[in-house]
Symmetry: C2
Subunit: 496 residues, 2 copies
């Protein structure tokens, strides 16, 4: 990492978390016109206009997954306005992909700048014709967030392709290590053209039960969240390792959870060892919190062991921070919670969502051996890099990672108290991980009913896994939003 | 297709090609400040500033694929300005991805509009929270170009993911047809979670030798252009069929070419038949011109047969128009050249590049059976849909498809004359396909040397295949650009 990037990262991540920091930042600093509270005036959300809009879209695109059709012009900060004019506190944030809020004036100003306007309408093929400002845009933006030890960046257009580019780089680096100084053989070059060995090798990516890494053919082969995402789609015969099923509250299940993590680590190592003689594991991919699969957590010690065991058996280690990255867990990158030592850092860290730009941080040693091996027309998008730059600047300026950590602490504490007397709710988790909180209901239908009540009570929240709900508020979520959220949770639980 | 879309498509495609139409449109109509000619003032292109910029970027990203670092603020219309201030006539257009030109004032105006500014900074999860304007934006934009019979649209972020979404939809539709009315079995749902049969079926996508369909794991398995794109990357064991190697000029090799196409069709059908009992082909994917693989063409009759044979054997037919789409071949979609009858239309048409938006046009019958089967966070990008809408409007308003067809005719004629006395150049092709022209040199190094001379002579042109060059000018390429291009080709050939 360049010295400049390293210094900036420390600024983003190493500030002491002051007790009263929740009081230092208010979302109205960034979004002066944010509404004071939700307001719902239709009997159900979505209302009639929302339904009509969905029906219109459904002539062209599947609308069965619509939650609400939104009026983004009227939305502001933490509040999403729907087609019927309902104002909802949004703690799902476009599946965890809005960092600061809707219509943040300083972001709109960036979009109106000449720099941005020229960048959006003159989209370059970045690999061959990059803009003269590209180095500067990266160094003053995305590179400021480069995880320790990872000073190279492949930009992409989405999280799935970030993961797949990490897979490709890992496969190439793995084969390069095996191959040594020699070049590709003619047999390799010929056989890969018919998708056969040795040119198309039988290498694998190991992923974890309940993990989600995307929906393209490589990333979907590593995804293990829900059958409906995978059924009928051909998949690579790649291995899956168990992920710990921890019991909550953690402090009451210390020994069981340790045993569960140990069991999972042993089985994971066994797969790595056994596959060596059949289809070696070139890379291991893991999310710091298995989000789409149900917000599954494990201890920092477990993740450190995962990383060490991967290294021991020669597998590259990919941390998928697409959902966990950019501050919501109270660290800029969630894997900073793990306490990895120098030399133990991940080989690849992938990102997307709240960063708006997508890509892979990696080490110079995993650059492909020859040009054009990882390449494409666009290879990222300069306007998303410019947007990311401003988001990063505002996060840093307003101390929003620390703010979110403090918000998470008080929110977790309030929810813990509230849920003490609630038999319907269990497994509150994510404590000490910012606002990245979740809990379970006993059934999926109860969960879905709760989410409907929340919407009617003015809060847009999301589900995950089979029967979980997840909080994914923006980084500008503050005390006043917390009060509204807690009231809505209480009312919605009563309404069930 | 909606009536409105059908009517608009006719406007885009069915205007008679008037003889003098090359004189009707001048690029200065759209781009008043376009330079009059190239100007190169460094000894080589790129010059010292370009090299320095590449070295700077290389600290972060691989710069070995850089051609020139560009100054997009200064570029205009058909002219790309590089870091050293050289002004190059750009007939490669960011690997065929710029439709109208750099800094087209009417496009910059769209980028400055409130509608656009709000859309770019409030990026929705389109599958769940689409904007209220989404139906309108699609109907007044992308849907106006929907190929006949394909009235559904999946939006994506790039061409590779467009192709992979088409694959997924084809696999699902294929299995749904086999399955009939029954739901997924428990065995299917369980087995797909470990990437095993029957849930992860042994179905395949058939592609063609020299085809290029992207670089993610599914699309790369169908890509057959160059070994360096594929080596070391695990691939699905999918079949490849031969693509005709036509001889030029076509009129001198009628019988041989017919025999070659017949041979290829027979082998293709044989693969479809033989695979039925092993790993059935669920989909066939083909580019109308195999571009990256060396600009390989075949006759409309060949493509009609491909489509008919796919249908006969139950395989879905995907036309990859990522590079060929949006007017450059003298039709809005290149597959319009084939003369397919009603009922013979493709099942899927994928697009990206010049459209700036990416996606898949398809039929309602290939919508997945259940929600969330084809889904993701962003599922396209509203700002690229808005950009596409304006591009489509300007193409229509200025008759740029017809203009490009006429330009292609005169350019092909001039090149044919010029090459008559040239022994270094062979296989001029793409005649009657707009400006989508290409030719071969005897060796790759001669080709590369030619491209260097062209740059020094003020023209940025691209290569493809082993020893080909391809013209991929914008749709605003006109008579004055043609003169400059022809002069540069002549000088560069002399310089070899």
């Amino acid at each position: 990492m360049s010295r400049r990037a390293a210094t900036s990262l420390r600024k983003l991540t190493a500030r002491p978390i002051a007790g009263p920091s929740t009081r230092c930042f208010s979302s109205t600093t960034l979004i002066p016109e944010e509404p004071a509270h939700p307001s719902v005036h239709t009997d159900k959300v979505p209302g009639p206009k929302g339904h009509a809009a969905s029906q219109g879209i459904n002539k062209i695109q599947d609308s069965r997954t619509h939650v609400v059709v939104a009026d983004y012009n009227k939305s502001s900060g933490n509040y999403l306005v729907d087609a019927d004019g309902n104002v909802l506190l949004d703690v799902f944030a476009q599946i965890s992909s809005i960092a600061l809020g809707y219509n943040v004036p300083e972001l709109l100003e960036v979009a109106r700048s000449d720099e941005f306007v020229h960048a959006v309408m003159n989209r370059p093929a970045l690999g061959s014709f990059p803009p003269v400002q590209w180095e500067e845009w990266l160094n003053t933006g995305l590179m400021k967030t480069a995880p320790k030890g990872l000073d190279n960046l492949m930009t992409t257009l989405c999280g799935s392709s970030a993961n797949e580019n990490a897979f490709k780089a890992a496969f190439m680096a793995y084969r390069a290590r095996e191959r040594g100084q020699t070049d590709f053989t003619k047999e390799e070059l010929d056989s890969c053209m018919v998708n056969a060995k040795p040119g198309s090798p039988d290498l694998t990516v190991l992923s974890f039960k309940s993990g989600f890494h995307g929906r393209l053919f490589g990333s979907l082969s590593a995804t293990r969240s829900k059958a409906i995402h995978k059924v009928d789609i051909p998949a690579f015969d790649w291995p899956v390792a168990p992920f710990p099923e921890l019991k909550y509250p953690l402090e009451e299940h210390v020994k069981e959870n340790e045993a569960e993590e140990k069991r999972c680590l042993e089985e994971y190592e066994q797969i790595l060892v056994q596959s060596k003689t059949t289809r070696p594991v070139a890379a291991v991919i893991i999310e710091p919190v298995l989000s789409e699969g149900g917000d599954k957590h494990a201890s920092p010690a477990y993740f450190r062991s995962l990383r060490q065991i991967a290294k021991k058996h020669g597998a590259y280690f990919i941390v998928d921070e697409v959902q966990t990255g950019v501050g919501a867990t109270g660290k800029f990158w969630a894997h900073e919670h793990w306490g990895l030592q120098a030399g133990e850092e991940p080989d690849f860290v992938t990102f997307s969502k709240k960063m708006q730009a997508s890509g892979v941080f990696h080490k110079a040693e995993t650059r492909p051996s020859a040009p054009y091996r990882i390449y494409g027309t666009w290879m990222g998008d300069p306007v998303r890099a410019l947007q990311a730059r401003k988001i990063i600047e505002l996060i840093e300026k307003h101390g929003l990672v620390q703010h979110t950590q403090a918000q998470g602490t008080s929110l977790a504490s309030a929810l813990t108290s509230m849920f003490r007397s609630q038999s319907m709710v269990e497994n509150l988790r994510g404590i000490n991980e910012g606002t990245f909180l979740s809990w379970d209901f006993s059934t999926a239908s109860l969960r879905d009913s709760f989410l409907g009540h929340m919407r009617k009570n003015g809060v847009q929240m999301g589900g995950c896994g089979e029967r979980s709900v997840r909080l994914r508020p923006m980084l500008t979520f503050g005390e006043k939003h917390q009060e509204i959220l807690l009231d809505a949770v209480q009312s919605s639980l009563k309404g069930l």
